[in-house]
């Protein structure tokens, strides 16, 4: 049957078919090219519609203009859809015409074929020179090519680049993605909230709870993994990280019921030292808290791996900063501003010059800038401060507190106020920046300076009962300073005068949270003390977790989200 069918396509018919399908394909291609060249995607969006939109923004009452924009918008959309259909039809036409063209062309070549001429046996023996040419090719082509490939790969190896996970990334529209709109009270994008201050104002948050008695407990779930990172929240999603030598993961939970939505194990080019398996450091490998803008979650781990993951749990990019070089592990969390992730990665000794400050694009991981820092390893998380009309990214390490321009990375000011192992997260308010660490001092620095401001801008200092891990919280008038031995002190922000001191049985590593005038502070055994931020210490309530809690609270929708050693808790008043 096939022979009969093929017999229909004799030489003449085949040539006609080749010509017809070729011409048809050409016409379709010209049509598609013309369509592509002539059609400017969304031309009215370029100028007129944008200008009209701008005009409407200035004068939102202009109903006529609003209707005109709507009409124009609809016309453009209809045109867009029609063009899409035309492209699709054209594509299919081109495909089938090219298929016929190729097959008929092939049939034509078969009909054109002649029997090969037999070779003489005397021609068969290959000249030995031909075999020697193999060596020449190997020497001049293969070996250089192989060595070049190796060099290229080793270059990649020693200059860790951004690795985009091709094929895993969903197509993104050009430009920044649209914000996933959620109410502000459902955003807790980074450690200690939107401003990194641990300050929230929600009168419906509970002032007592007892997990064992299920008092004010909405849900609790066991966390499948180790870590000291805190939860971050965007809308109905909550993210935490876990990590050990075997794998580092980002876990996504449904905020309403605590169901695990997905978990994403990192895949990076990290070469982990086996020593890390034996000793993960005091911090563990998942101490840094992730950041999220709703679209992406950027998680950093004690292995010096950082990765961007989309909200569906697909890893988009990753980067490895080389083997970690820190005495107690890695603890500094990334922070987020717009679409930029800032990471203070202070490692090694001052002489090694391993410390860096990175600004990375959240969507791609590409560096916006990265600058070296002349400081040894530290564990503190930087904060972003608005001061005198400018933004400052302020870091704390031994011995310098340094302020940078978040856009360019240029240094603005520095103050020599610290020493030793700097871990507590700084705080800021009312033009003051507070930083402290154990065996050093608490320093209140006036922001807005330039250059070395050690002598000019340090408002006051204090040198006793300082924190080793926990950060501070302030309302602008009073400053609360918990420490690792269980002592909490309250200071006047402006003068540095001690207002009161309260002693507890256990120390504090968790960062305090301020809600209205109530301070929530959780000790290492898992008891939260709730007291008023006032001139006199007054306890309002207590919360009991029944297990150690070293992390910071996340707040959304009048509920606390807290990570304990084993469990993740959602606390709130009964609805």
């Amino acid at each position: 049957m096939l022979d009969n069918l093929l017999a229909l396509f004799d030489r003449k018919t085949t040539i006609y078919l080749v010509a017809a399908s070729g011409v048809f394909s050409l016409v379709v291609i010209i049509g598609l090219c013309f369509d592509g060249l002539w059609y400017r995607p969304m031309p009215v969006f370029d100028v007129p519609l944008l200008e009209m939109r701008e005009t409407l923004r200035k004068n939102p009452q202009d109903q006529a203009l609003r209707e005109e924009i709507r009409h124009l918008d609809q016309v453009v959309r209809q045109d867009f859809i029609t063009t899409r259909k035309r492209l699709l039809v054209g594509g299919y036409l081109l495909f089938f015409s090219l298929l016929i063209f190729v097959l008929s062309l092939r049939r034509w070549t078969v009909l054109q074929q002649k029997l090969p001429e037999p070779l003489l046996l005397s021609q068969l023996a290959e000249h030995p020179q031909a075999q020697m040419n193999l060596f020449r090719t190997l020497a001049f082509f293969c070996i250089p090519l192989a060595l070049l490939s190796l060099y290229g790969l080793s270059y990649l190896k020693h200059h860790p680049q951004i690795v985009n996970e091709a094929g895993l990334q969903a197509p993104q529209p050009p430009g920044p993605p649209l914000e996933i709109l959620v109410p502000d009270n459902q955003k807790w994008p980074q450690l200690r909230g939107p401003k990194g201050s641990g300050v929230v104002d929600d009168p419906n948050l509970p002032v007592s709870w007892d997990v064992e008695k299920a008092e004010n407990l909405v849900w609790k779930v066991e966390i499948p993994g180790k870590g000291h990172s805190s939860p971050v929240i965007w809308g109905d999603r909550l993210y935490i990280t876990t990590g050990d030598f075997e794998s580092r993961k980002v876990l996504c939970y449904q905020r309403s019921d605590g169901n695990l939505v997905w978990s994403c194990a990192l895949r990076t080019n990290a070469q982990l030292d086996e020593e890390l398996k034996e000793d993960e450091g005091d911090t563990g490998l998942a101490a840094p808290t992730a950041v999220t803008d709703g679209h992406y979650i950027v998680a950093f781990f004690g292995t010096n791996e950082i990765a961007g993951i989309d909200r569906e749990g697909r890893q988009i990019w990753s980067r490895w900063f080389g083997p970690p070089d820190s005495d107690f592990g890695i603890a500094s969390s990334p922070i987020l501003s717009g679409s930029t992730v800032y990471l203070q990665l202070d490692q090694g000794s001052k002489e090694k010059k391993h410390s860096m400050l990175y600004a990375l694009d959240i969507a791609s991981g590409k560096p916006r800038w990265e600058i070296p820092r002349e400081v040894p390893c530290s564990w503190s998380t930087p904060i972003l401060v608005e001061s005198n009309g400018r933004s400052e990214l302020i870091t704390a390490a031994d011995p310098w507190a340094i302020s940078y321009d978040p856009v360019s990375g240029k240094e603005i000011w520095r103050a020599k106020v610290l020493s030793g192992a700097v871990a507590p997260m700084p705080a800021s308010c009312n033009g003051f920046f507070f930083t402290a660490t154990e065996y050093s001092q608490l320093a209140a620095i006036k922001t807005g300076g330039q250059g070395d401001i050690t002598e000019t801008h340090v408002a006051w200092t204090m040198e006793s009962d300082l924190p080793d891990v926990a950060g501070m919280v302030t309302d602008g008038k009073l400053l609360i300073l918990p420490n690792g031995t269980g002592k909490v002190r309250c200071f006047d922000v402006l003068t540095g005068k001690r207002i009161w001191t309260q002693e507890y049985d256990n120390g504090f590593w968790s960062n305090p949270t301020l809600n209205g005038d109530l301070v929530y502070m959780t000790d290492m055994e898992g008891t939260t003390f709730i007291f008023k931020l006032a001139d006199k210490y007054e306890e309002v309530g207590q919360g009991k977790f029944g297990e150690p809690v070293l992390t910071s609270f996340a707040v959304a929708d009048s509920r606390f989200y807290v990570r304990g050693e084993k469990y993740l808790y959602c606390l709130g008043k009964p609805q």
């Binding site: 190729v102 068969l124 031909a130 040419n133 790969l153």
Partner: protein, 369 residues
């Protein structure tokens, strides 16, 4: 000839159309309009993967039957056409055994990487067929090979020494692909797949251009991707060397008419020849040189990658590939008749059309099989 020139132009001209992407901003009126959630492409169901695996195995079985029992070049061509349409255009060229190298590698290196049994089956099935029946997959089941076969117009012979050297690139590529999976979790074989853009009728210009260039080269140098770049083809070649059944040229009936040699576009027919430089001293020198090259690459690995095991292994692999090729020159044998090069034969069946003893060979193959 001109027709093919036109074909190339058409293909290249199609590139802008294929690349054209249209995006449209969402309306931003304050009308209470709720943005629909972003919808991502559904992950293929496991059933679909098992259907693909079943079809692959059925195609391999049909290809084996057509090649070794029916000895039908036409049948293999039609099978190739089906492969292009189904595995290529319908399934968008994914998942294919070539790319599955990376899935399997990543699954071996990362216990958290999920891999279905179907993907493992897709990886293994062509290898098993190759071990028993030669490169049946390349002949008529691989869409990448078949699409290149469609464009073959006139064969230019590639000198054997150049063929041998260029063929090593497949193994370099295989090593680099495994290395990048291990180091970066990147699937470079898929990233640089030159034909997937055609199958999906969309793609980056450079990738479509690369595919068009390979098809253009393939007009005169048949299947350049399969012969010089395909890493999976390299694996199949290794196994096909030991295959129990293959495309045969019978020593008893062969009249040395050379028609099969002239018909084979892939330089897969070995001609009768004297062994080169049989002297022991030369053999020794070649072996010594091979070992030297291997040592060079191992040392380069340590120099370039330090203590990174994956880099050293990659460098060693390069050394082994080149040294093995050199050593084959030290052990070449005398050949009195035309023979099939098991590793190079792509099982296309073109030689059947010309061999005057085709039917006899069919019987012998059936007996041997």
């Amino acid at each position: 000839m001109k027709g093919f020139g036109v074909a190339c132009c058409l293909l290249l001209a199609a590139i802008p159309g294929g690349y054209a992407e249209r995006r449209f901003p969402p309306p931003d009126f304050e009308t209470g309009y709720t943005q629909p959630p972003v919808v991502f492409q559904e992950v293929r169901t496991p059933v679909s993967q098992y259907v693909d695996l079943t079809l692959l195995v059925v195609c391999l079985a049909i290809g084996t039957w057509l090649l070794h029992y029916r000895r039908s070049r036409r049948g293999i061509f039609l099978l190739g056409l089906f492969a292009v349409l189904y595995f290529g255009f319908y399934k968008n060229g994914c998942i294919c055994p070539i790319g599955s190298i990376q899935n399997v590698t990543l699954a071996l290196l990362d216990p958290h990487y999920p891999i279905s049994l179907a993907v493992i089956g897709i990886f293994i099935a062509p290898l098993l067929f190759s071990l028993f029946y030669g490169r049946v997959f390349c002949g008529g089941v691989c869409p990448l090979g078949a699409i290149q076969d469609l464009f073959l117009f006139r064969t230019l012979r590639v000198p054997r020494w150049l063929e041998g050297s260029l063929g090593l690139c497949r193994y370099f590529y295989l090593g680099i692909a495994i290395y990048t999976v291990a180091e970066y979790s990147r699937f470079v074989i898929c990233e640089y797949d030159p034909f997937v853009g055609f199958f999906r009728m969309s793609g980056l210009p450079w990738k479509l251009g690369l595919g068009a260039a390979l098809l253009g080269i393939g007009l005169f140098i048949p299947r350049p991707y399969c012969r010089y770049l395909c890493p999976y083809g390299g694996l199949l070649s290794l196994l096909a060397r030991r295959s129990s059944t293959w495309v045969r040229i019978t020593p008893t009936d062969c009249t040395n008419c050379t028609l099969c040699d002239a018909a084979c576009p892939y330089e897969a027919i070995l001609r009768p020849e004297e062994p080169i430089r049989p002297e022991g001293s030369w053999r020794f020198k070649i072996i010594l040189a091979s070992l030297g090259v291997m040592a060079l690459f191992i040392a380069s690995g340590f120099y370039l990658f330090g203590t990174a095991l994956s880099g050293i292994l990659l460098s060693t692999w390069f050394g082994v590939v080149i040294a093995s090729k050199m050593m084959t020159q030290a052990f070449s044998n005398r050949r009195n008749h035309f023979e099939t090069d098991h590793a190079a034969c792509l099982s296309c069946g073109r030689c059947y059309e010309y061999c005057p003893y085709g039917k006899t060979m069919q019987e012998i193959d059936a007996h041997a099989g």
